[in-house]
């Protein structure tokens, strides 16, 4: 078990180092001169040189890379080009909003997808099943940058139930969470259905039924417990879609998270902040996935043998 944990953590560290390297290289992909892209063509040569030096772009690539990695170890992600504040400080302010939104969307998706998937599997071939799968298909195909404005139109503008944007009122979390959670709910419902269907065909389910357990007890206590495992693994992977989707959802609702910060930074050509946002979101993703893997091995002893 311990060996497995350390192998998994080691692999995660390699991936994290790779992610940092790729993010470091991002700024060198800026076509032409990043300094000119930031300052504009009319900038004074002295200003350019000063910015170049402050970004360390006048150093050889290897030196820049070393400095960057050393900086990361002390949480130094550079300074925002716009207001000279530390990027880590700005990210720290924005992260809670993104985590709140992601958690709400995840909760919503689970609350919707689990009953939908279980009942669809239970009544396979029924009109409920067909309806649930139609919802799933539409949910996956519905772009969140369209669903968001539609929800605003109906619930904020026409009905006046929720605020249009911002995050001051708890009710303002509802529409962004629905927007972000719908696609995940659609995918999850499908996975829960498939997983429950597979488990329902197992021998021990027949045994449970044969010994006279009620159908709900068979379904929720016996079937769902084992159907969870594949869903959990895939949930970890789908979290990436959730975090990526947060960028668009936050922009639609002016939600003050890391995602909207990324878009603002891109528009302002504030590259240190762009790098910081990408790095932070990716690290959260890697971290959660590693923890999911470890938890998975803890829940199901069979995993450890693989």
């Amino acid at each position: 078990m311990l060996g497995q944990v350390s192998t998994r953590l080691g692999a995660a560290l390699v991936v994290i180092l790779g992610v940092c390297t790729l993010v470091f290289l991002l700024i060198h992909l800026v076509p032409g001169d990043p300094v000119e892209a930031m300052l504009g063509e009319s900038a004074q040569p002295a200003d350019r040189a000063a910015l170049r030096a402050s970004l360390g772009l006048d150093q050889p690539l290897a030196t820049q890379y070393r400095r960057y990695l050393v900086g990361l170890l002390s949480l130094d992600l550079g300074r925002s080009f716009q207001d000279q504040r530390a990027v880590s400080e700005i990210l720290g302010e924005r992260l809670p909003a993104t985590l709140t939104l992601a958690a709400a969307a995840l909760l919503l998706a689970l609350l919707l997808a689990v009953p939908l998937g279980v009942f669809a599997a239970r009544r396979r071939g029924s009109s409920f099943d067909a309806g649930a799968m139609a919802f799933s298909l539409i949910g996956v195909s519905m772009p969140n940058f369209w669903l968001g404005p539609l929800l605003i139109l109906v619930f904020s503008l026409w009905l006046g139930w929720t605020p249009v944007s911002g995050s001051d009122d708890p009710a303002s979390l509802v529409l962004p969470a629905v927007t972000l959670g719908t696609a995940l709910a659609a995918i999850l419902a499908r996975m829960v259905r498939a997983s429950v269907l597979e488990v329902l065909g197992e021998d021990y389910i027949r045994t449970a039924r044969a010994k006279g357990l009620s159908e709900p007890a068979v379904l929720w206590r016996h079937a769902l417990r084992n159907a969870w495992l594949p869903v959990l693994t895939l949930l970890g992977m789908q979290l990436g879609g959730l975090l990526g989707g947060a960028v668009i959802t936050e922009t639609v609702f002016a939600w003050p998270g890391v995602g909207s910060l990324l878009v603002e930074a891109i528009q302002a050509r504030d590259f240190p902040v762009v790098q910081g946002c990408v790095l932070l979101i990716s690290l959260v993703y890697v971290l959660v996935n590693t923890l999911t893997d470890l938890a998975y091995a803890g829940v199901d002893p069979r995993v450890a043998f693989r």
């Binding site: 390699v14 991002l26 195909s141 940058f145 989707g245 762009v274």
Partner: protein, 269 residues
């Protein structure tokens, strides 16, 4: 009869989309003509989808937008499937340290959640059709690489590969003629879902202002521009959004059907 119609619907939608992409420039007479006296006109017989905030006909812009999404969808899938399959197949075929290195690189790319890396890349490269295709392909190749590698790993121990090797077939030819054709089915299924993903991603990037440059129409930028006028002219948001959704839905349905027919199991959902 009714069932047959339902089965044909996805084909019809995709066909219409492709047709609009090919013929759009001929049919759309004035997608960029600004006509200020006619701004935000509601749909009418002469203007089936009304006009936008600059008086441009929404139907014409929708047609031009279908070209944008089609070019990106096909371009991204072609580029990323080609590059990804070759890299993945080579890794699986070669084994040893090249395989190890490539697997690590794939892991790193998979560590970027969803569309995030594409957004950052498109933002850094700047707007434009070519940059959108590049950004989405940089993110997209990984799926094909992983799939091709797994396929080749299981196929390369088959007897016919050993026989070909014994006959002196060189590795590149072995890979291209004897291995990749057998690995094609799951890759084709993945590519179908990839088109849907690329269409959504292109519209998403354009929604964020990172896609094609104005005045060229994209469904995503049409939605973004329409949001400000949603209360007075909901058709500005409804029309392009419905277009994205129908195309993505149709392509996903075709992908599902193809997967069932070719009997492959993929994680793409």
């Amino acid at each position: 009869m009714q069932m047959r119609l339902v089965r044909l619907l996805p084909f019809a939608i995709v066909g219409l989309w492709a047709l609009a992409a090919l013929l759009g420039p001929l049919l759309a007479t004035a997608p960029d003509r600004i006509d200020l006296p006619r701004i935000l006109a509601a749909p009418s017989p002469s203007l089936p989808l009304g006009t936008d905030d600059l008086g441009r006909p929404v139907l014409d812009r929708l047609l031009v937008g279908s070209r944008t999404s089609f070019v990106v969808g096909v371009g991204v899938v072609a580029l990323s499937a080609l590059v990804g399959s070759l890299i993945g197949a080579t890794a699986g075929f070669a084994g040893g340290w090249p395989d190890l290195v490539i697997v690590r690189i794939i892991d790193v790319f998979l560590a970027f959640p969803g569309i995030l890396l594409a957004i950052a890349l498109a933002g850094i490269l700047g707007p434009g059709l070519g940059n959108v295709i590049v950004a989405l392909s940089v993110v997209g190749w990984v799926g094909y690489a992983r799939l091709a590698r797994a396929q080749v790993l299981s196929l390369k121990v088959r007897d016919h590969v050993g026989a070909a090797r014994a006959l002196g077939v060189r590795p590149p030819r072995l890979l291209l003629r004897h291995l990749l054709p057998l690995a094609l089915a799951p890759l084709v299924v993945e590519a179908t879902f990839g088109i849907a993903a690329a269409v959504i991603a292109e519209a998403g990037l354009s929604f964020l202002g990172l896609g094609v440059q104005p005045p060229t129409a994209s469904w995503g930028s049409m939605i973004r521009d329409g949001v400000a006028y949603m209360l007075v002219a909901p058709h500005l948001v409804l029309a392009p959004g419905l277009a994205v959704m129908l195309v993505v839905l149709a392509v996903n349905l075709l992908g599902d059907r193809l997967r069932d027919r070719l009997d492959v199991r993929t994680s793409a959902a």
